[in-house]
Subunit: 379 residues, 2 copies
């Protein structure tokens, strides 16, 4: 009996791969060749090739943003609440492209890929990537797909930074920039949390300087700790309180170090364990570095408005009240710079209890706002 | 040439040790014997024995709160800004007692002490301690010193929790309770950060189930990570921003994982390294557990006012505006419960940029407030 997908689902999707032999020159001074990007598309490119939307993913995201890879897949893509027929990113109107970034661990060229120079996995020898590098690779993918201009580039968190970079790197190729729960650059505290995560991985004896694959091991402890720290920063204090409070796992306290006393401990351990079994440690390092390095204002002595002067896109910024990783104030910095630069910008601060994670969740007011903005875009 | 100490310094101090052979029954159901407490005293006990103040330390603190152990000691005790002749905790008027808690690693019986049952260091076999256990041991120290009632018990953070517990466990033995930057119990987020620190230590291969001493190693990586995470939560985002911003270590970015790019990274690594060389991993686990378990309202179905009904002390609560570990709202919970219980309470929220760390720093308004409250205490 064939599975029937919901009417507003994009249904079954098949990832595709784009290969590139031309070397990609990177910000770090090195270049990458050959390289490939894994991506998915939803909806249909119109004859004018004007209705394409690019989805950029965040730290641990990938190309599988909507629909299902198999009929028996338990969970749909990571942004399925937003992408589909009749959903805010409406696949009846738009042709949606979602890719796995370079350096990732879901099929695009990354640290686990074979380094042609050595015949072994790159491991820690994979070049450090920046947001600019990713946007450059995405532009080459757009060329390959025959898309000279995106109707919109959309992303949350690190994905929002890529959307912003698109408006600076390729002002002619993006009509709308939608940056959700983003920041113009990391704060010292943001960098500090990333540094803890990196040190957890780098000091794991199973990391082997990034060449753990050759040793047949995985730095699970480091990845687990990195994810645990990350998770705390994704949730608001309130959201954690509401979800777990001081709920105990059992009636009685154990008074030892190994037992799980509180539900929040068991949640974090589970999240960390699960992540360490599926994510690449070198990719995690690389993603945190891309976050740290992102600082578009740096090219204009810290003046973001001057950097954004070249932009031609219309901008839509959104933030969430309880997000303490990239709080509303960080989005307002971007909005202020855009206004100073005389750009067209909409900004919405959404009342949500879920913290930074809110950008991934089906919060009605958020979906309505996104829907309303995208309704106003001519495909 | 003899060193001359500042006029408001307690000068040279010598730690003392109190030995106890009587077993101490603990909340976990086990008991400890023999045990000892290392402590220091500053000032002189008056003939009425009524001018004694107890200082309780926080997570990584110890008995050395003021003065110098040697003439060439570089830094004085951890709360030297508050304790001394003419300082807020004025040693011309008060006899100040400061101890290292049980389970500590600065001389009091703890995980690194010899377990008489095995002839080896306790390691992870040292019993888990609670705030109630500490207060009980402190009461036995008070007996030993002939102090039947403290003029005040004072502490910040975990130390403030001990001060609060004193007012509940021994209502007749404490006239004033001064709890600074404290909380009535940890939030889920607080517990989550502690859990990350514990997992960092527990999963360090050099931890050896807590018996690293017998192996001649120290779980330095775990301790380092635990301290790094802790440090982020001690500082406000603003304080970190002001201290480090996005300051780079060198002019050029290195684009690798090992180099220190930003000053905040180097600060955290240094703090972590330094701490891992001097602190005991089992003590760290134990201190975080004592924090997690602290929940005085639990004895009265979550009603803190009911638990505090027995208290006879006057209370002074203080908090700092940018403290996000134990924010002002957590102190206000205690204040509200005290008011509902009809107790005498003063509360001051101090405008300070330093986050949780503020309670250790010589912030003028803070020192003035403490001074003013203690001036009002009859010795």
């Amino acid at each position: 009996m064939p599975v029937v997908f919901a009417e507003d689902s994009v249904g079954l999707v098949t990832p595709q791969t784009a290969h590139f032999n031309e070397p990609l020159a990177l910000a770090c001074g090195r270049s990458l060749a050959p390289w490939q990007l894994v991506y998915e598309t939803y909806g249909t490119l119109n004859p004018a090739r004007s209705n394409a939307i690019l989805i950029c993913h965040a730290l641990s995201g990938h190309h599988h943003a909507a629909g299902f890879h198999r009929e028996d897949e338990r969970k749909p893509g990571w942004w399925d609440s937003c992408i589909g027929p009749g959903k805010p990113i409406d696949t009846r109107r738009f042709f949606v492209v979602s890719l796995n970034n370079l350096g990732g661990c879901n099929g695009s060229t990354g640290p686990a890929s074979i380094n042609p120079a050595s015949g072994k996995a790159y491991g820690a020898d994979f070049p450090v990537m920046t947001v600019e590098d990713w946007v450059k690779s995405q532009a080459l993918l757009a060329d390959r797909l025959g898309i000279s201009q995106w109707a919109a580039v959309i992303g949350g968190s690190l994905g929002g930074m890529q959307a912003l970079q698109w408006s600076i790197s390729y002002p002619e190729r993006i009509r709308h920039c939608v940056a959700i729960a983003a920041a113009p650059r990391l704060s010292a505290q943001n960098i500090a949390f990333n540094e803890v995560a990196r040190q957890a991985i780098l000091t794991d004896p199973d990391f082997f300087g990034g060449h753990f694959k050759e040793q047949g091991v995985v730095p699970k402890r480091g990845l687990m700790l990195a994810r645990m720290v990350g998770h705390i920063t994704y949730l608001s204090d309130d959201a954690m309180g509401e979800k777990f409070g001081r709920g105990l796992k059992s009636e009685k306290l154990n008074y030892d170090f190994h037992s799980v006393e509180f539900q929040v401990e068991s949640y974090l351990r589970y999240q960390g364990e699960e992540f360490s079994g599926r994510f690449d440690a070198n990719t995690y390092l690389l993603m945190t570095k891309a976050l740290d390095y992102f600082d578009p204002a740096a090219t204009h002595n810290g003046d973001l408005a001057k950097t954004l002067a070249v932009a031609k896109a219309h901008f839509c910024l959104m933030s969430f009240t309880t997000d303490w990783r990239f709080p509303p104030a960080r989005s307002r910095e971007i909005v202020d710079a855009l206004l100073r630069a005389g750009k067209n910008v909409s900004y919405l601060e959404i009342d949500a209890q879920q913290g930074h994670d809110a950008f991934l969740l089906p919060i009605p007011r958020y979906l309505q706002a996104l829907d309303s903005y995208l309704q106003g875009i001519a495909p």
